[in-house]
């Protein structure tokens, strides 16, 4: 019955027919191997009990349950560490990330946030985040909260995020303004965020069809002539929209975790503004809220709460004196457009041709009013509304661009399922992005559900170009979960012992890409067999002669944790001594003896047990005759292992499996 249905799935129409009828043969796993494979794709690693539970349930129900679980957020935990006297540097935030990713029940949400963190990139490699790791944890929480929400809300929250504002420098970005009449010097809006929000976070560089193929700009010429989605002019104009955002200073005090904090952007000086008037205090825009509050070591909430608009510095199409901007000279990037308008990409009815008109009113005489009248406050609110509406319209223009569906579909599929999704797969997911079935655009919960349940994700044995190299960090968490390792400290913060060299070894660390272009690009092709077959392979970009060997070497230290030479009562975790006793380490996770003892002693059964846990039973070959991976392990190791302690055999087998090409690829 199942086989017949699979064959039926070869054509797209067949898929549509079945989906329309509400019947989905991929709704439930056929066996525990399928359940395990699914969890490898959808979580930070398959845990035996969760595999068993899913085997008796359905994929769809699992996804539904996952999406209903409350988000296990990161920032609050980090703040509690600070309150308890801990120093919150990036190593602690990384440890917390491992704890959450490995132990949280909301696995799909955590995985989705990690995937989103590689599209909407903010990085701790930028030194600005040294002592303000809470900012980054808050950014991750934004991704977690919006993981199954709407892409449009995510885009808004990311744009308003102070972490992003610092990283792509649109925090305190200012409108064009004459700042030095003597040298005739103008300050100009920073173009950084305007460029990357289009190129990386939404529409991409080139016009795409819904299956991600390029649109052809000129059918009369041979080949495909790509059509750019925007030009420098659009970037410059969007950078003008992205002005005036800075920390909010709402006035009054806030009690946070038992501490009264002033919210005036001044250091402990008391109230100086109220309501909308706070956004018209010029110094508030420029002021950094106090950062670390002694004695608690907390970051002030104004440092990580969403940025708000300061109309004085927002480009309203007007000069600082309130007069309309004059037309610019007839040259790029402005051409001869009226400078008071901002021309952004425009694809939805409210925007029309994409020109945002200037503010009706002069907002600049509303600044620094000591006691604004009710009428003045109303005008202030109108100015604020203009700014917020304009940003909102610009984000809408991006949101409604047809490119966003295929852009997000392709990248999310690459993170979860396969590096080279078929055009049909991308188009199907883009279709769900465009409309979740209830007329809603941008429903990320529906998108990830369809990505996981799509026939291309669920069918196994799909050929030699299916699958992806595992992200090195996920390969590691998979090991931690599949072998049911436990963290030794009560807070469960310790997994791998040293977070300092992690990036150097693995080429990857959460919120730690080298640039806004992530650890790797979606278009990377590993030179050789993969590029020869025109296959994309993003994760290969960080696999080189250094990281491939470093991760291999590191894996022995990880796997042998607690098992090895004992010196001064501490295990060296090196699998080195044939007469070791297990001593639980204090600084890293380990395989508990109970789990170790549950692995069979017979060589073939031992391999099969690990095959089930780590590789959802897909290890290639047979023991007899000796073929494939099973044959290699049996031929090379069974006799050589004679006489070694059971645990040592198990650990060394795990080490080889972990470093095998078959385990390193998810398919």
């Amino acid at each position: 019955m199942r086989l017949v249905l699979l064959l039926f799935f070869i054509t797209a129409q067949a898929q549509d027919t079945i989906y329309l009828s509400g019947f989905d043969p991929f709704e439930a796993p056929e066996n525990s191997q399928e359940a395990s494979r699914f969890l490898e794709q959808a979580t930070f690693g398959q845990v035996p009990q969760e595999v068993a539970d899913l085997s008796d349930s359905s994929f769809k129900l699992w996804i539904k349950n996952q999406q209903e679980l409350p988000a296990s957020l990161h920032r609050r935990d980090l703040e509690l560490i600070a309150i308890n006297g801990g120093t919150v540097r990036e190593l602690i935030r990384r440890e917390l990330w491992f704890k959450k990713s490995i132990t949280s029940p909301d696995q799909l949400r955590q995985r989705m946030a990690f995937a989103l963190s590689q599209i909407f990139v903010v990085s701790d490699q930028n030194l600005i985040f040294g002592s303000t790791q809470v900012l980054l944890a808050e950014y991750y929480d934004i991704l977690l909260k919006n993981a199954f929400g709407n892409y449009r809300d995510l885009l808004e929250d990311v744009t308003r995020s102070q972490a992003m504002g610092l990283y792509l420098s649109h925090q305190r970005n200012r409108k064009r303004e004459l700042v030095d009449p003597v040298t005739d010097t103008y300050i100009e809006p920073d173009e950084n965020y305007a460029r990357e929000i289009m190129q990386l976070f939404s529409i991409g560089l080139l016009e795409r069809n819904q299956d991600y193929s390029l649109m052809d700009g000129n059918a009369s010429q041979p080949g495909v002539q790509p059509i750019p989605t925007y030009d420098q002019n659009i970037i410059t104009n969007l950078s003008r929209v992205m002005t005036g955002l800075s920390s909010q200073c709402t006035g009054g005090t806030i009690n946070y975790l038992g501490v009264d904090m002033f919210r005036d952007c001044q250091p402990h000086s008391g109230d100086v503004c109220e309501g909308a008037n706070c956004n018209f205090i010029v110094s508030n825009f420029l002021f950094n809220p106090p950062r670390i509050l002694d004695p608690l070591g907390l970051l002030h909430p104004d440092v990580y709460s969403p940025m708000v608009c300061y109309p004085r510095f927002h480009d309203t199409g007007r000069e600082t004196d309130g007069s309309l901007f004059p037309n610019r000279p007839a040259s790029p990037p402005y051409n001869d457009e009226p400078y008071q308008d901002k021309r952004i990409i425009g694809f939805w009815p409210g925007i029309g041709d994409g020109a945002l008109p200037p503010s009706d009113m002069n907002c600049n005489d509303l600044n620094n009013l000591p006691n604004p009248t009710a009428a003045q406050q109303q005008l202030q609110q109108q100015c604020l509304d203009y700014c917020d509406d304009e940003i909102s319209q610009a984000l809408d223009a991006l949101f409604y661009h047809p490119n966003v569906g295929p852009m997000m579909a392709r990248q999310l599929i690459q993170r979860f399922i396969t590096s080279n999704p078929s055009p049909q797969y991308i188009e199907d997911i883009a279709g769900v992005f465009n409309d979740n079935g209830n007329g809603v655009r941008g429903d990320l919960g529906a998108v990830i559900e369809r990505i996981l349940l799509h026939p291309e994700a669920r069918l196994s044995d799909q050929g030699d170009d299916f699958g992806k190299l595992k992200e090195p960090i996920i390969k590691l968490t998979q090991y931690f979960r599949a072998m049911e390792t436990v963290s030794p400290d009560p807070q469960q913060m310790k997994w791998r012992n040293n977070m300092r060299l992690f990036k150097e070894f693995y080429g990857q660390i959460p919120l730690g890409a080298n640039s806004v272009f992530n650890f790797y690009t979606p278009d990377y092709q590993q030179p050789g067999e993969l590029s020869g077959a025109d296959l994309y392979s993003p994760e290969f970009q960080i696999l080189d002669d250094i990281t491939s060997v470093e991760t291999h070497n590191d894996s022995l230290r990880v796997i042998c944790s607690g098992y090895g030479t004992v010196r001064d009562g501490v295990s060296e975790s090196n699998c080195r001594d044939n007469n070791f006793t297990f001593i639980a380490p204090t600084d890293r996770a380990y395989i508990p003896p109970a789990i170790m003892n549950s692995i069979p002693t017979d060589f073939e059964e031992m391999v099969e047990a690990l095959n089930t846990r780590l590789m959802h039973g897909k290890m290639s070959g047979t023991f007899t005759p000796a073929t494939g991976m099973k044959g290699i392990l049996k031929t090379e190791l069974e006799a050589a292992f004679e006489g070694a302690p059971h645990a040592l055999k198990v650990l060394h087998l795990i080490h080889l499996i972990y470093n095998s090409p078959e385990f390193s690829v998810q398919r």
């Binding site: 420098s169 010097t185 002669d545 690829v665």
Partner: protein, 532 residues
């Protein structure tokens, strides 16, 4: 597969290879069949040449690296610079260095050159060395010693283009000017096509090293900064290949095979890595780890052992040249200490110097026949990230300049010490320069900028290309002075001209230059003359 990029397909068709049809093993055979001239000057043992590329990632504000310094009078070139950069760097939002803070240099006249008085970034000073030993020269000294020249206003171009032609689409433009990735890729490949798979560093190497003569110890393309497109090339054994990547401390050897069944486990790993698979990703992973683990020991042996070695290593690749008092090889810990840099009284580490030091050691070991590498042609790559200074430019850019200057000065000293200064040429790349006008605390993406080349074979102490007037919104065809509203300069020298001049010095013939840089023929000057 998605996005079967048309350019890629065209490339593969040009190679006579279609996707999925045994491209891996067939590629080099096809290259041979296409009569790619194999230049035999690269034959090992006969002669040696190497290129060292320093990529300044993010877009270097290079009009604050080399500046006009004619006079402070109103209307002078310096005055224009001062105005365009928004006033002095010491106050407000401006980025112009004070006239007297810049390090003065003077460039003579010559073909394709811009004579005149220039100022260098103040961080291009000499660094003190050990007592009694000469200082490590900074960029200013290297220029004055005629070991270094600049190339002004170089950038990505399909063909020469005026502002009018640009604005009215009268001539083809490089796609996506201002975008990091796409511009960096055009620099790396010498091509305008998106996703072109072959870097020009890789392309020249496969032409210069005869089939069968690539040695087994160290591949000719070596990166100190990971995989990169510039060094992606055709391997001698067939198929496209990544560069060999190595750390500043050396290659990383495979560990874990001591104790219980060590040899058997190592054999098992080997068998697993080379086991044939029904999946291309599986096979490709095995290839990477297998190659990496096989090479590491041989490379470290070549660099660390041999004549002149200490008891703990550091032989064929030993470099004595100090750059600072604590720089001497530390035999107790068998390593060089982390290089330090002092700028404005502050102490910093200089990781670029650590990486470039390994390049120097590899070059030395590659030229000692007993070490077994015996390279004929090599291309090295290292990157210095952090140049995307939209923010915090006043803090970050001077430090980057100081690191660059110290590392290059050290490298030139090291090449002199090992007698390779005439055979090794170093050059910088950066995807674009930055807007002359400030955005408050930084600058944004622009286009044409300044690069430099250094080495004994460089026609040094000169400024090649046309140094622009640094005006805002300039449009002067007679003077070839074109810029946009924030001072973004239209390049007047193409990346292809700069790279072809370097490739020609390495020994690449005219026909090969045309196939590697297909737009080169659009420019009147194929050889900019900066290599002697």
């Amino acid at each position: 597969m998605t996005d079967k990029n048309n350019d890629r397909r065209k490339f593969l068709q040009w190679m006579g290879v279609t996707a999925g049809v045994g491209a891996s093993s067939g590629l080099m055979a096809k290259l041979d069949a296409l009569n790619f001239a194999m230049n035999t000057t690269g034959k090992r043992g006969t002669d040696y040449k190497a290129l060292v590329c320093i990529e300044l990632n993010g877009g270097n504000d290079s009009y604050n690296m080399l500046m006009p310094r004619d006079s402070m009078n109103s209307g002078s070139r310096y005055d224009t610079y001062l105005q365009s950069r928004g006033g002095l760097i010491s106050n407000g939002i401006g980025f112009a260095y004070p006239f007297n803070d810049m390090l003065p240099i003077s460039a003579p006249s010559g073909a394709n050159q811009s004579a005149g008085q220039y100022g260098l970034n103040p961080a291009f000073f000499d660094h003190p060395s050990q007592p009694g030993l000469p200082d490590t020269p900074g960029i200013q000294s290297l220029f004055n010693q005629q070991k270094l020249s600049f190339i002004a206003n170089v950038g990505t171009l399909v063909e020469p283009i005026t502002k009018n032609e640009y604005e009215n689409d009268l001539k083809p433009k490089p796609p996506l000017v201002g975008s990091h990735f796409q511009q960096a890729n055009q620099w790396a490949t010498g091509r305008m096509e998106a996703e072109f798979p072959l870097g020009w560093g890789g392309a020249i190497t496969e032409r210069l090293i005869p089939t069968g003569s690539d040695n087994t110890i160290l591949p000719p393309l070596v990166s100190l900064s990971g995989n990169n497109l510039f060094q992606t090339g055709g391997s001698i054994s067939g198929g496209l290949t990544n560069p060999y990547t190595i750390k500043s401390g050396g290659a990383v050897p495979l560990q874990s095979y001591f104790g219980n069944a060590g040899d058997a486990r190592r054999n098992a790993l080997n068998a697993l890595l080379t086991n044939t698979s029904d999946n291309k990703f599986v096979g490709s992973f095995g290839e990477v780890l297998s190659n990496a683990s096989n090479r590491a020991i041989g490379i470290n042996t070549a660099v660390n052992q041999g004549a002149g070695s200490t008891a703990t290593g550091d032989g064929w690749g030993r470099i004595n040249t100090p750059y600072q008092a604590d720089s001497v090889f530390d035999p107790v810990n068998n390593r060089y200490p982390v290089p330090r840099l002092t700028l404005d009284g502050q102490d910093y580490s200089n990781d670029l110097l650590a990486r470039i030091r390994m390049i120097a050691r590899l070059i030395k070991a590659s030229r000692v026949s007993d070490a077994g590498i015996n390279a004929g042609r090599q291309v090295f790559y290292v990157s210095l990230p952090g140049f995307d200074t939209h923010d915090g430019q006043k803090t970050n850019h001077p430090l980057l300049m100081a690191k660059l200057s110290q590392a290059v000065g050290y490298f030139m000293q090291a090449m002199e010490e090992i007698g390779a200064e005439d055979e090794v040429t170093l050059f910088t790349t950066s995807e674009f320069a930055r807007t002359l006008t400030p955005n408050g605390n930084g600058t944004d993406h622009a286009w044409g900028g300044v690069q430099f080349i250094a080495g004994g074979a460089v026609n040094g102490g000169r400024v090649f290309g046309k140094y622009p007037k640094l005006e805002i919104d300039a449009d002067d065809d007679t003077d070839q002075n074109w810029s946009f509203s924030r001072g973004q300069q239209i390049p007047t020298t193409s990346v292809d001209q700069m790279m072809a001049t370097l490739a020609k010095w390495m020994g690449v013939g005219d026909n090969d230059l045309d196939s590697i840089f297909p737009n080169l023929n659009n420019f009147a000057t194929r050889d900019l003359g900066f290599m002697s």
